[in-house]
Symmetry: C2
């Protein structure tokens, strides 16, 4: 049995490259960018009027002129006009190019206009005010969005601005999620007294959706030959296999044996943690196998603790550790890393983690109230003190 | 001009009901549940074996028996067996029903097995150990997931477990996002010197995607008649219209006038905030109109500050305020609520907000580095002090 730290280290040293694909920018929400996005022009691309009002030549204001004859209108979207008489003004609209011979904009709120004359009702203005200077945000050629960033709504706007109608992103892996266990029946069936409905695979589908990864699901009966045949095929067809169940010490827990016979190289089996201890991890040249224990909370925790960071590192995403303050003392005797379900809430700039009373790794229903897990490290101490800070995983 | 608080209060008093629809549970990630989900059976539905090992009758262990003849195997998914001789044991698998006449499970790690005899290598065990008692998590009829919850991966698992193949969720609104501004060209076009590409509508599409709301987009030229014709049609066809641009004081900012002529009832126009001041909000009996200013950061902030909480309240979701600690002094002179873009990061259980240097409401590119806004309240003080706590909006 290895520690959580060792397991994480092994997993993060065995990332996988899924390649790159080009997709329409508007379908790229949440995907991982795989090219630097460069400014194709200056940002803004011209001296841009930043307020509706009039544009003048500051020199005349400075000399005491307050009445300016309106020589024309510069609308947004019109080619740049030229103000012929520097003592005049131009009406200008937000987003328009600043007309030639103008250098300062005064907003309508500070001007009175009668027929073709604008009078400025201010005794002081700043030369160059209300102009968004060409290239002042970014200059042409600057990297606006570096590669390996997860694409956000602001990025979508920038991609549109620079005309990147399609972009290169990390290709999505092909994932199969497999449940085992003869006690399981389908969601639409009414279980017998000794049966329950399949649920772990669907929690996993949903957890992968959060990473924008589509997946398929299958169920395999607890029969060694059937298991072996099907897995042999999945190993060829998929980049990632996630299993739930059949990795512990039960008489029908054939999975580690079958994977070994299929030449899947074991990276480790069993991690000193609760829940999720019997986790089995292995790989072939083309496929990673995450075999999670069948208890629902175990499968859930292991997906968050191992699959999430492994996938993020595989596609190039770096993530910093998040921490929260424990709001209650927690007593935990086993010498294991303890993943405790918590309700995370913000208070005065602090992130607080309040334990949710659960009933062990089989108690899926208690997860409904939780929005994270706190990681209480493996230690000989039994008592985790209220007010201490620990790493968390948000759901 | 009203304050941010007044604007929020007006918006939240004018929510909208989009109705309810029934969808497959596996397509419900992130949607808002509109029915209570009830336990159809006890959780767990039987006395469930929680460890692979042997099941015994505790009385015999208590009397000093350590060797138990193996009478049979109770596999997960098999109907409950009965142990005929109470001095014997049954091999039991995780997830199986506890056999009749057994009351305690000892895991394989603590047992030696030779031919048909199991020897317990422990001097002490707890009566009833390693059994997940019927109904101990939840009893039949309990509300497992209350309505108005946003559906999470754990919920998906619970929905599967109780056999809810389809569920009732809040219906999605029909949304049209409209840009105005003759300076705008399409993403695939090469802009002239005085033009820029459309980007705000795509940021809005992406911001709505984060709420799982699909949307359509359109562009309308700065022509009052065209604007009026198209909006008249959109008001009939959509539940929500989002506009970007044409609400300020420019000569071609026809939108408030056109909306008035189309009998859209104005709720307010202009809010004492930066960015996003010229925000216009109104409604008909069937349609809400959010008309955001055209500067990219203004549109972005107003969508987060107003549309997000309005939508969440409309579908029944309650959200608590999040706060963070400002890491630098900020000087802001205007008597306006200031939405400052920040980088949020976790440190020792605290959420820290570090301002991102931006270049005003036109500077979309600076948002790429931000992952939130901090709300610095409207006040006569100019100085917001490092270490103080303020509300934040995460992106």
């Amino acid at each position: 049995m290895i520690t959580v730290q060792e397991a994480k280290q092994i997993i993060l040293s065995n990332t996988q490259d899924f390649g790159i694909e080009e997709i329409p920018f508007l379908e790229s929400d949440g995907r991982i960018l795989k090219e630097d996005i460069i400014a194709d022009r200056d940002f803004p691309p011209f001296n841009r009027v930043a307020m509706d009002g009039i544009a003048i030549n500051y020199r005349f204001f400075q000399y005491g002129v307050r009445d300016f004859k309106i020589e024309g209108v510069q609308a947004a979207g019109s080619p740049q006009e030229t103000m012929e008489n520097a003592a005049h003004c131009y009406e200008v609209m937000t987003g328009a190019v600043l007309p030639n011979n103008c250098d300062t904009v005064i907003r309508y709120e500070d001007v009175s206009i009668e027929t073709l004359m604008a009078t400025v009702n201010l005794s002081e203005i700043k030369e160059g005010q209300n102009i968004h200077i060409k290239g002042s945000d970014k200059t042409e050629g600057t990297v606006l969005i570096p590669k390996n960033k997860q694409i956000s709504p602001a990025d979508i706007g920038v991609l549109a601005t620079v005309g990147k109608a399609t972009i290169k992103v990390a290709k999505l892996p092909k994932v199969m999620i497999v449940s085992t266990g003869d006690e399981l029946v389908n969601v639409t069936e009414t279980p017998e007294a000794h049966q329950i409905r399949r649920s772990n695979v669907y929690s996993l589908v949903s957890l992968l959706n959060e990473l924008n990864i589509p997946s398929e699901t299958a169920h395999i009966t607890d029969n060694k030959e059937v298991l072996k045949d099907k897995i042999a095929r999945y190993l060829q067809e998929y980049d990632i296999l996630l299993f739930s169940g059949a990795v512990s010490k039960g008489k029908f827990d054939y999975l580690p044996e079958v994977l070994d016979e299929l030449d899947v190289k074991k990276l480790f089996h069993r991690v000193s943690q609760r829940p999720g201890k019997p986790f089995w991890m292995g790989q072939t040249d083309t496929c990673k196998v995450f075999a999670f224990p069948g208890n629902p909370v175990s499968t859930f925790v292991n997906c968050l603790v191992y699959f999430y960071p492994w996938y993020k590192k595989s596609v190039g995403l770096t993530e910093s550790t998040q921490t929260a303050i424990l709001t209650e003392d927690v007593i935990f005797k086993p010498n294991l890393t303890y993943y405790l379900q918590v309700k995370l809430h913000s208070e005065k700039g602090q992130l607080l983690a309040t334990p949710i009373k659960g009933n062990g790794s089989g108690d899926l229903a208690s997860l409904v109230e939780a929005n994270g897990f706190i990681e209480l490290p493996q230690t000989k101490e039994v008592n985790f003190i209220k007010g201490n800070v620990y790493s968390i995983i948000k759901i």
